[in-house]
């Protein structure tokens, strides 16, 4: 271990020592890359399901139905953009559905009270971000567990929604606000789909093209290493939850527009579909790994499966079962994959 002569002669000639391991890595690397790239794997699954549904139902591959799938996926899609950031940091946001409900309701009540649609929109975004700030401060400064924090804020937001609305829906919202979630342009293309695409593009740029995005991956990959390397971990976490809240606010606008009203139960259960889409898309619940393209494919996969099961007249209870089974499979895959990577590492060092 401490042979003086070797040190003297060694110099920088450690090529010999690293040559063999590198070869081994390449051999295992091919399989690893195939397994590791979940996005393409899931995209193939999505394609197969689409082909099968086209064969099984002649109503599947029609412009109307495709638009319907996309419109139904918009709310989950927008919320999943923020959720992907959160999960890449190793956190989770269970409050997103409730935040959508609360933001939509408070915004609608503000409009009903006589303020304009613009104010209503700003209020919806602000309420979403407020929930995000509470989550973000709790997770960063107070160092609370994201799961528990967002479970609590989920309950709080639901309670506030019911309290403020006294359990009643708010109808007759102005067109300026329902336009985003309900209208169609260019011969049937839902506006909500355009909004979703824009949010995805912005999110993708933020995640892969900026210092902030790099920091998000670093915090999720190894929080302590990121901190010691000079990344302000608390700031990154706060911004990430704030973004998730902002996305919830935008999703609230889409939800209100789609239904044409703010109902006390809007957004309920969205968090489950959001998390499912993200995990199915290959973002690891352990943090540090993930992509928005994967999330996009995950969102579409869930939308297509829901639509297909409806077209095939499958019992709605069974639909719920199958959706949850899909999450189970995705989480299992994630865990097995992560453990496999860790094991490979152990073997190497």
């Amino acid at each position: 271990m401490k042979q003086t002569s070797t040190i003297a002669a060694g110099g920088r000639e450690d090529a010999l020592m690293s040559a063999a391991p590198r070869e081994r890595l390449t051999a295992g690397g091919v399989v690893g890359r195939l397994l590791g790239n979940t996005t393409s794997a899931i995209a193939v699954v999505l394609l197969i399901i689409c082909v099968v549904l086209t064969l099984l139902s002649d109503r599947f591959l029609t412009p109307q139905n495709i638009y319907a799938i996309l419109a139904q996926s918009a709310v989950v899609g927008v919320a999943a953009v923020g959720g992907t950031f959160v999960i890449i940091t190793g956190g989770i946001d269970l409050s997103v559905g409730a935040a959508i409900g609360l933001a939509g309701m408070i915004g609608a009540l503000v409009i009903q009270a006589g303020y304009g649609a613009e104010v209503g929109i700003i209020v919806m975004l602000a309420v979403g971000m407020l929930v995000g700030v509470v989550n973000g401060l709790s997770v960063s400064m107070l160092r609370l567990a994201p799961f528990i924090v967002t479970l609590a804020t989920m309950g709080m937001a639901q309670g506030l929604t019911l309290e403020s609305s006294t359990g009643k829906s708010v109808y007759d919202l102005p067109h300026a606000i329902t336009f985003f979630g309900g209208d169609r342009i260019f011969g049937g293309l839902p506006v909500s789909v355009i909004v979703t695409v824009i949010i995805f593009i912005i999110g993708q740029f933020l995640l892969t093209g900026t210092s902030f995005g790099k920091s998000v991956f670093a915090v999720g990959g190894n929080r302590e290493a990121a901190r010691l390397a000079g990344i302000d971990v608390n700031r990154v976490l706060l911004i990430v939850y704030l973004l998730a809240g902002l996305c919830a606010g935008i999703a609230a606008i889409l939800t209100v527009g789609r239904i044409g009203a703010a109902t006390p139960t809007s957004g309920a259960g969205v968090e489950l579909r959001v998390i499912a889409a993200i995990v199915i898309g290959g973002t690891s619940l352990f943090g540090g790994k993930g992509s928005l393209w994967g999330t996009l494919v995950g969102v579409l996969l869930i939308g297509v499966i829901n639509n297909g099961l409806t077209l095939l007249n499958v019992d709605p209870f069974l639909v719920q079962f199958m959706q949850s089974a899909l999450i189970f499979a995705a989480v299992l895959f994630d865990a097995v994959n992560t453990r496999r990577l860790a094991r490979n590492r152990m073997r190497r060092t």
Binding site: I7, L16, A19, A218, L228, T349
Partner: protein, 495 residues
């Protein structure tokens, strides 16, 4: 030394790891009613010996027997055969009761379910033997003192009918005042006829408790005498017994003005420490494990929050406990634990090199991917990281190459003070010297370098000056011209 009463015997035992002979033809006997101390530096082979005796690893060749029978192959069977190990860290379950902790292993043994009375009787008997008579069996373990918890661990081993007890650095987690109680317990167990193997870096403990002291070096037993045939200087010399290596790439540099000043710093694990370091100087921090080397570095880097004292850089005060401010001024820390604190193992080399240096490759927060790629490729080339591409995942690299990635990151930020915490841990010899070439190069460029290593010789070989730490304090300061390993090691290990 083999006598009739030898309880555990090793005969010609060897163990190799790739590139290293961890144990080299070791023949040893441990007798009942005897405390045998193992002394040696880090990497001398003591841990490997313990791992073999506890069944954690198997020897490549040679024979190990317990009570004349071959040592079983699995850790569980080894414990049943009568060899138990008390590890450096506590292994109790802190929220469970004393009773449940003492009998933790009992449940997994023969009887399955025992009746309450017999359980209590057994636990009480075991606790009596370690000096914890009268302890309330229902108390949760977390309410006990560290020494009591350690004695409880011993009681657990006794409850498993241990005949051989191995103590691996048992005092490193104890406050100074509680060491004596542990030594008394061990003496009592010796009187009861147990064979005890005792390992500690603290030489005065060895002299206080051992009957025999065995010195290991580079995997082999180099000397073995009854305790009264040793003197402390002789023991230190036997442990080292090597010449200062000229193989490290140390070269003389002209030193600049004082850059880093630390005054009366009190921080977690650091007790009132003062030091200063000049530009281009390499300053070593020497001390045993737990002496506060890492803690002092982290406090200077702002990774922990000092409660008292001051730090200055070129005369200007550094905000205490602020990583951001320290980094802004150019004070950086390369962590000791690469995997836990230094790297994102699942991320590619590229992202690890640029970690926290995004401003170098971004404008207005937008990362220029071409600049990022060029930055990473330059770093890989300049620091000699052996990899097929900058996209290769860091977790798959060898320890030496991982360390070079950290080195590149630390060096590229334009630092003025760099703290390397054990930069060659788990690194092979070839990579070691190329890492130190870079360290020298950084010092030549005018940076102040603080350096630690688990290998004291290495620090001495690379440093212009060292501070010796003991129990969180700086207790000595030695210039390179006056380096004397015996003196340094003695002041590091003797209180």
């Amino acid at each position: 030394m083999t006598k009739q009463s030898a309880l555990v015997e090793l005969t010609n035992v060897s163990k190799r790891y790739p590139g290293v002979v961890a144990l080299d033809d070791v023949t040893l006997a441990f007798r009942a009613g005897t405390v045998t101390a193992l002394a040696g530096e880090n990497g001398a082979g003591k841990s490997t010996l313990i791992k073999i005796l506890s069944g954690a690893v198997e020897a490549d060749s040679g024979v190990v027997t317990i009570g004349g029978a071959p040592l079983p192959r699995t850790p569980g069977e080894v414990i049943e055969s009568g060899i138990s190990t008390i590890y450096q860290e506590l292994t109790d379950i802190s929220e469970m009761s004393v009773l449940d902790n003492v009998l933790l292993a009992r449940h997994s043994l023969r009887w399955g379910v025992l009746n309450r009375k017999a359980n209590r009787r057994q636990a009480t008997a075991a606790l009596d033997r370690v000096g914890l008579a009268g302890l309330d069996l229902g108390r949760t373990v977390s309410s006990l003192s560290p020494a009591q918890r350690q004695q409880l661990e011993i009681a657990r081993c006794l409850a498993r009918n241990a005949r051989v007890l191995i103590f691996d650095e048992p005092t490193s987690s104890l406050p100074e005042g509680e060491v004596e109680a542990l030594l008394q317990t061990i003496k009592q167990l010796r009187r009861e006829g147990l064979a005890i193997i005792y390992i500690s870096h603290h030489l005065e403990e060895l002299f206080a408790i051992a009957d025999d002291i065995v010195v290991m070096r580079d995997g082999a037993v180099v000397d073995q005498r009854p305790v009264n045939a040793w003197t402390q200087p002789e023991l230190v010399r036997a442990m080292l017994a090597r010449d200062l290596k000229n193989a490290y790439p140390w070269v003389e540099r002209s030193l600049g003005p004082v850059l880093l000043g630390v005054k009366d710093l009190v921080a977690p694990g650091v007790r009132s420490s003062s030091l200063s370091a000049r530009a281009s100087e390499i300053v070593g921090l020497v001390g045993l494990d737990g002496a506060g080397r890492t803690e002092l570095m982290k406090a200077i880097a702002g990774a922990t929050r000092p409660s008292e004292g001051s730090i200055s850089l070129a005369g200007a005060p550094v905000r205490l406990g602020s990583l951001a401010h320290a980094r802004q001024l150019g004070i950086v820390y390369a962590p000791e634990d690469r995997k836990a604190e230094g790297l994102i193992l699942d991320a590619p080399i590229r992202d690890n090199v640029v970690l926290g240096l995004y401003s170098l490759v971004a404008r207005l927060g937008i990362v220029r991917s071409r600049r990022l790629g060029a930055f990473a490729r330059d770093a890989v080339r300049d620091y000699g990281v052996k990899a097929s591409s900058i996209r290769q995942v860091v977790g798959g690299l060898s320890g030496g190459n991982q360390q070079k990635v950290i080195l590149a990151r630390v060096a590229e930020g334009g630092p003025r003070v760099i703290m390397f915490d054990d930069p060659t841990r788990g690194v092979d010899v070839g990579a070691k010297s190329s890492i130190y070439e870079q360290v020298i190069r950084l010092a030549q460029r005018g940076a102040t370098v603080l350096l630690t290593s688990s290998d004291t010789d290495e620090v001495l070989a690379m440093s212009d000056r060292v501070y010796v730490l003991r129990a969180g304090r700086i207790v000595d300061e030695v210039q390179r011209a006056d380096f004397n390993r015996e003196r340094i090691l003695t002041s590091a290990s003797l209180g």
